[in-house]
């Protein structure tokens, strides 16, 4: 059990608690970046070099920035905790605890399950070539569908978040747009 792994494990747990329990959303965002960075490091230790870098690059570098962007855009903390009703919180907590208990027991019992002996890190450090070969070999179809999924998500996000100047009513053909433009011109003229 290398020291690094233990340290990383502890650090990750601490940062995760930071994410969950910090009051301000930006604080938790930063904690999340820390968690992702440390997870990347953890991957590197677990012979998944390429994955570590990709994780940091995509997760920490893009997704969380998106969240931070939204946080700053919305001034999210303006609507901090308002309503008093906290039942789901406590219930959630309790149930979460119970679930944790069950799952931990589950894991421990699982741990007894004889994991396949470590066949040496025949992994080759999870370099880009091997991963690439796997990705475009056995999992080509999955890779393509993920592409389609991302495209769909892109479209969805754009349409959802776009400022609705004109409601998305059916029949927004050319004529409809021209009419609206005429209405706008008339408005300006008045």
């Amino acid at each position: 059990m290398e020291a690094a792994i233990v340290i990383l494990g502890v650090l990750i747990t601490v940062c995760a608690c930071g994410v969950v329990f910090s009051r301000q959303s930006l604080h938790s965002a930063l904690w999340l970046v820390a968690v992702l960075f440390l997870a990347g490091a953890y991957f590197a230790v677990l012979d998944a070099g390429f994955l570590a870098v990709v994780q940091v690059l995509i997760y920490a570098g893009a997704i969380v920035i998106l969240m931070v962007f939204v946080i700053m855009l919305l001034g999210a903390d303006a609507g901090a905790v308002k309503s008093v009703f906290r039942l789901p919180a406590y219930l959630g907590g309790a149930l979460g605890g119970m679930l944790a208990g069950v799952l931990i027991v589950f894991a421990l019992s699982g741990a007894k399950v004889e994991l396949a002996p470590v066949k040496g890190s025949g992994l080759g450090g999870g370099t880009a070539e091997e991963l690439g070969r796997e990705l475009f070999g056995r999992y080509l179809f999955a890779f393509e569908t993920i592409g389609v999924l991302l495209f769909a998500a892109l479209l969805g996000a754009v349409i959802l978040a776009a400022e609705q100047k004109r409601p998305l009513t059916p029949g927004r053909g050319l004529r409809a747009v021209q009419e609206v433009r005429k209405a706008e011109i008339k408005e300006n003229v008045d």
Binding site: P88, L91, G92, G96, L99, V102, L103, V105, F106, S109
Partner: protein, 654 residues
Amino acid sequence: MNYGELNQWFLREQQWALLLILAAPLAGALFSYCTISLGPRRQMLAGWIAVCAAFVSFAVSVCFWLFLDWSAEGGAANSGVFLFPWIAAGGLHLDAALKLDSLSLTMILTVTGVGTLIHLYAIGYMAHDHSKPRFFSYFNLFLFFMLLLVLADNLGLMFVGWEGVGLCSYLLIGFWHQQMPNARAGQKAFVVNRIGDAGFLLGMFLLAAEVGSLDFDAVQDQIAYLNPWAIEAACMLLLLGAVGKSAQIPLFVWLPDAMAGPTPVSALIHAATMVTAGVYMIVRLSPLYNAAPAVQFIILALGSLTALLAASIALVQYDIKKVLAYSTVSQLGYMFMALGAGAYSYAMFHLVTHAFFKGLLFMAAGAVITGCRHEQDMRRFGGLWSPMWGTFIAYLAGTYAIAGLPLGSGAYSKEAILWAVYTAPDTAAGLTLFNLVSWGGLFWGIGLAVAFLTACYMTRSLVLTFFGSYRGEGEASESSATMLVAMAVLIPPAMFFGHSRGIPLLESLRPWARQDLLLSQSELMRDDLYRALEHIALFAAGAGVVLMLLAYSIGRGFMMRLGNCIPERINPLCCKWWVDELYEYLIVRPLAFTARVLFFAVDRKLIDRSIDLSAEIAGASGQMLGLLHTGRIGHYLLIMLAGLFFGAAFWLVF
């Protein structure tokens, strides 16, 4: 075409002739109904069509009587015709077949004979009625069903006739259905008959189950092999049917109310033909009844009790038709006594004589009613002998016959029955329960009392209607010619048929008689016991007549005091022994009550409620489940987590 050729031709065509007897009234019914489309003036044509149809079937019956040898020695001649296989269900094979033997011959002769005369009488009686076609078509339809009942070769077909006759009596009783009492009387008749019919049906089913077939001959052959208790039960059930139809003790309430119908209906159906159907059915199944001594005793007891009851009620009735109705019931009681005593041929003999004089009496009563502008209460009559002398002669003849005065036809048949009852063998008379006196003697005493009472109420009605001074409004007028002719034709048989005992009637009914029965005039005369009983009966009848004549002439005051000592309301006789009230409180009220309870409690509360309840439950549960959707994401996640938790726990445990 001399007599011989006619005879040969008829023998060849006798099957078609038998069919014609049935077809004529049916055709008559259809055609007379068709005249409904003609104008009101020409609708009397329906009447004449009906009369012709009845006369045709009467004529054919007479031909049968003449051309075939009915004497017993030549082997009881009979002819039958097979129409079509009616029911073939499993083991039971019923086919529509007609059969004619001496018993059914006597029946169709009386039915068609009296029927034709009453049709003729009805033309006069219904002259001023508006729906003559309907009346005469029902009349002919009744005749058709009665003949079908009589000629049937098996119980099934007899039951069809039985029901048809019940239907026509309902239609005819309720003929003037505009007035509610008539309609209700019709309904009462029909319902009571149906109760009897139910018994008849059950009896039929039992017989079918036991014997496997309903033909009379088949039943007769199988009797020896049947289980005695089954025979007793079948006879009892069939007796219930006969009691319903022939208006005996438990089910006689409908006959007095049936007087609501027009008088020809009462004359034909409720005096001569339909009411005797029960008697005919028992005589037809006599071998079965001979094998059921207990039932015979019940019949004897039933008959005597009914006769006594009816006679007592008839004494105080003021409506002339009610008097005659109760007298019919008591005379039928007489016939049942004969059946109970095993003297089937004497019962048939009394049936025939009764048909004649009761038909005559009813026609006379009808004439009186039309004469006095449809007044039926005897207290409004009086002194009618001079204006309506024809009707008076007819009524006098009828009274003379029914009272059982010497040489009257009623006397001969009544004395024969009394003798048969007195000499009823204890075994035949059934159980000598108390061994005090042989049952025969007791019932003979009752029979004698009934004979005395019959004489009393008939002379009372004669005196109240025809003697004294006229108490009604307006002028009493003689009835029309057709009615008088019909009555005139019926007087001789009503009066003198008794002497004709010598005519082969009794001889021909031998197969149905007890062994020790005296069947010819000569045998009767030679038997000294018979001569003693005959004198006692004649003395009783004479006493009855003389007593009533004196009471109404001299003892009027005494009569008045006698009448007032028991107030009208609680006088058992006036209240008809409270039988109607008994039925009302014992059967009708509880039935109505349970129906109402069942409706409100069970149907309304239990069944409807349970259905509404299930609907409400569905609605309520839908409502409750709706609460689950609070719209808060937290709750949904919670539920998901709970599911996950229980899943994991479940997987972990098992």
